[in-house]
Amino acid sequence: MANARLRNVTKRYGDGVALDDFSLDIEDGEFVVVVGPSGCGKSTLLRLIAGLDPLSAGEVHIGGRRVDELSPQHRDVAMVFQSYALYPHMTVRRNVEFPLQMRGMSKRDRRVRAEEVAELLEIGALLDRKPAALSGGQRQRVALARALVREPALFLLDEPLSNLDARLRTNVRQHIRDVQRQLGVTTLYVTHDQTEAMTLGHRVVVLDHGCTQMVAPPLDAYARPANAFVAGFLGAPAMNLLPGTIESDALVLAGQRVELPDALRASIVAWGPAVTVGIRPEAFASAQGGGGGAFVVHADPATIEALGSETLLASDTGGRRVLIRVPGGVAADLPPFSAPVSSFHFFSPADGRRLGP
């Protein structure tokens, strides 16, 4: 158990930069999720921390010890690979005992420890099987067991759920969270799945093109995304991002004039004239009567996706597709939907930066 400090970690490949000047402090026992689209540099980050690839620049400290010059075996880092990377010629027991064996633990202690971890991950009945005889979910748990058995200083997971079917994924996700909280092991978890990003970690790091976009607790990142990329990436369906123009006392959005409430007018006008407006699909509700200070859209009945607990709709407004998400069902004669200005997020069209608080 230890903290981890990453200082200006950079990885260059030929002309390209896979990871650019990445810095992050992970507290002892903290669970940090790194999320981003494929190719954003998140797997590279794990390989650099693990020592599987050399850094181009920067430093990695684990538990107060600088490790970026050490070989992987001396970093006290455990990793769960996307492919699980179980040793196919060894039984589950020998897979789990392998890290202990490499550290010279006696056969007897190894056995006891492996059985403890097997109990924790509910694979006790599988110990004498080979990986080929296991299901995907079982292999996944064996991979976790092998990584956790020696109580690493830092625990790395590279998209560990991406090979599981949807139902299993929910179970294993909760299991991973429980085990991490129970053991208090410092964890860095990489994923492209934003449900995992929202639910697993204490903090989430949003990465794009090798650059950190935001570091925050997941709900904060959802509520106040630092820029348009984070806004569009976290949340499903994605936030609507629309170009808007600010006139003296109103916002023109997709051809519609939206009155600005007195309380917000002064600050919003100062950001103008051009802004990018972000509206979460769930910010919309059935419009009750008229009233200014809201963006009103008419959904296309053909786009209704009724999921029972909620309904997804879309609207083509002023040449833009706007996604809407409302709880429960919708009436047969679709009402207009409106989102109040107070729910809007504003971003600079030039660099995507968040405007205002």
């Binding site: 693990a50 070989s71 992987p72 990377a85 040793y87 392998f98 890290p99 490499m102």
Partner: protein
């Protein structure tokens, strides 16, 4: 109908291969006059081991057998020791692999008998020519064996995901332990196949054996002399001795050949 055709074809191919084999065994176990009998006989009339004792009197058979086994076993060891690291490196680093490919293919293009003459001259200078323990021949056979072993083992290492080696290192294994505990066990079937093929390469090798050794000969040149001087019974006896490991290895390799361990290994 189609199936019966395939079965017939299989029998025909097996027959073409097995008839000479049967004749050699028959000639080795029957008196010489039966070998020359006309019309030829297919079933031995009189069984005898005199051809083996005769061959042992005519040529240094026991010494030849010992030398053949010794050189072949040593060749297997040295060839695998050289090929394993090379094949692993070639499988993990494509740029190294393509270069080694060129060297290995080029090495196989030269006729061995043409290289044997300059090699003999070099070995005279080094004191390896006609070495009583076959050290010179062993070196030459290692040169022959490496390309086979390299191609088989490289294909095998390519089948081992690099992530398994990454995982082992993170689990605390040194690079050497990673190789011994993870990579090597996963290529074991191919390693066995390579060892047996290299054994046969050395066991069967004639040109170097003829030109690099004079008085300390392995079995192939001994067989050649007996045959060239007109002793079909004696040479058949030596041939049968030479067939034994080949048949054993064929039986051992059969599952590997069937499972495609040697697929993509060249030749």
């Amino acid at each position: 109908m189609k199936r019966r055709g395939i079965v017939l074809l299989a029998f025909a191919i097996a027959g073409v291969n097995l008839v000479p084999l049967w004749l050699v065994v028959k000639q080795a176990l029957t008196p010489e006059r039966e070998s020359f009998a006309w019309p030829p006989t297919w079933v031995p009339h009189e069984l005898t081991l005199s051809n083996f004792s005769g061959a042992a009197e005519a040529v240094p058979l026991a010494q030849g057998l010992g030398l053949s086994v010794g050189v072949a076993v040593a060749t297997v060891i040295s060839t695998l020791a050289l090929s394993l690291p090379a094949a692993w490196l070639a499988a993990r680093r494509e740029e190294v692999g393509s270069r080694l490919d060129g060297v290995v293919v080029a090495a196989r293009l030269f006729p061995t008998i043409a290289i044997a003459v300059p090699l003999a001259v070099i070995f005279v200078g080094l004191g390896l020519y006609n070495d009583s323990s076959g050290a010179g021949l062993w070196l030459a056979h290692t040169l022959l064996g490496v390309p086979f072993a390299f191609l088989i083992l490289r294909a095998a290492f390519r089948g081992v995901p690099a992530e398994l080696e990454d995982a082992a290192q993170l689990d605390g294994a040194s690079p050497w332990m990673t190789f011994v505990r993870v990579s090597l066990p996963l290529v074991r079937p191919s390693l066995g196949a390579a060892a047996m093929l290299v054994f046969l390469v050395s066991w069967d090798e004639f040109a170097y054996a003829l030109l690099l050794q004079v008085t300390h000969r392995t079995l192939p040149p001994l067989l050649f002399y007996l045959s060239a001087f007109g002793y079909p019974g004696l040479s058949s006896a030596v041939a049968v001795l030479m067939l034994v490991p080949a048949v054993v290895i064929l039986l051992l390799l059969e599952p590997a050949l069937r499972s495609g361990v040697l697929a993509g290994s060249g030749r």
